[in-house]
Amino acid sequence: MVEAEGLGKRYGWTWALRGVDLEVGPGERVLVFGPNGAGKTTLLKLIAGILRPSEGRVKVGGADDLEMRRKVGMVGHRPLFYGKLTVRENLSFYGKLYGVPGLRYRTEELLERVGLRHMADLPCEVLSRGMAQRLSLAKALLHDPPVLLLDEPFSGMDPEGRRFLEELLGDDGRTVIMTTYDVGFGVRWAEKVLVLVRGGPRYLGPPPRNHEELIKLCE
């Protein structure tokens, strides 16, 4: 479902990420782990098509560029919503960009699912971090993508939001690539782990038995 070959991204003279080969099958769950500045977010942005690779290539479902972006939903560090638009208007805007069929119904369905229906007419600038994170998740699911990229999705989430996200991550059937510092959950959840250190791959394989072993891989 996701294929990366010799993937690298350079900013000026500095490589943020280099030499990543990754193959992720349909429905597979991958944890990307590493210390700050390891290139985790850069990798997700390359797979999401936000950044253009400086070397190598990446494909999702055999497609690149425009079609690749259609197959991916991403929850990033920042919520990516327009503060002056309402919750519903934000979803509607992104739905139009993705060409979501039956957008009105889909928007209401997702608002209900993430528990934001009662806040649908409020401007996004009043949302708490956790609420904004839920909305980010709704946005990522809006076009029903086969691949979900989650960059620190638990940060700022309340227990209810976290429970919803864990349910989704459990048996949704989508390919999920996630970064998280919740190492315990990550090791339990993942089927494959990619460890990045200083922009390069250090380990790719089945998850270690416990989080201590995972942390050791970064040393």
């Binding site: 990516l80 002056k84 992104y94 060409g99």
Partner: protein, 222 residues
């Protein structure tokens, strides 16, 4: 087309809900026109002679000052990544932003043109008004085309406010010269001259919009 429409819809709602940008841009234009009016002195002939230059100097400065508004919402809320991750051609993001920017400038121009005509003793009625309208649209299109491209290019730079005029002014010079000459011809009543400069402006517009549409993707991704 769908995504261009969505971007325009979104930006117009944001503009409507936060109109301070438009108001300050209009205020800036009026203040500049007024300052030039007093600087040029009371001689009506000199005022009429300098009118077209003053008008376009004002709009060029306003265009660059207003460039910060083009991606203001994306910058403030970090939404550029949201746009870039959508299955939308980068060129279409540019076109949406460019059309909203052009509309914003044309609204400011429509609001400031009557005080300009009164201050500089240039009666703008009937055919002259139509001719000047055409010149304003074609000049504004060229100006905003360049400003929108560089506004996207400098989005993630720390010295954006300083960089934007440095990059933009040299490139918009041909448009501004064309627009000043075309406006001067409108005021002096020579349609042949207007037509000549108008054609030149249109060719600049087509060139700038096409090039910016092509290169916008590289500008925002790197």
């Amino acid at each position: 087309m769908r995504e261009i429409g969505a971007i325009i819809w979104k930006d117009l709602i944001l503009e409507w809900r936060a109109p301070e940008g438009l108001v300050s841009l209009g205020g800036f234009c009026l203040a500049t026109l007024l300052a030039f009016h007093f600087a040029l002195g009371p001689d009506p002939a000199r005022m009429r002679e300098a009118g077209s230059g003053v008008l376009w100097a004002t709009y060029m400065l306003a265009g660059v000052a207003g460039a910060g508004r083009t991606f203001a919402s994306e910058e403030r809320d970090g939404c550029m990544e949201g746009l870039l991750s959508a299955p939308v051609d980068r060129g279409n993001i540019y076109l949406g932003k460019f059309l909203v920017g052009t509309l914003r400038m044309l609204v400011v121009e429509a609001l400031t043109l009557p005080p300009f005509a009164a201050l500089y003793g240039l009666p703008l009625v009937g055919g002259k008004l139509l001719q000047l309208g055409a010149v304003l649209i074609s000049g504004t299109v060229g100006l905003v085309a360049v400003v929108t491209l560089f506004s996207g290019l400098t989005l993630r730079t720390r010295t954006r406010e300083a960089l934007l005029p440095v990059l933009t002014f040299p490139i918009v010079v041909p448009v501004v010269i064309g627009a000043v000459e075309a406006s001067r011809s409108v005021f002096s009543g020579g349609w042949d001259e207007v037509e000549r400069w108008f054609k030149l402006l249109i060719s600049f517009d087509v060139t700038f919009v096409s090039l910016a549409w092509l290169f916008f993707g590289y500008a925002v991704e790197e």
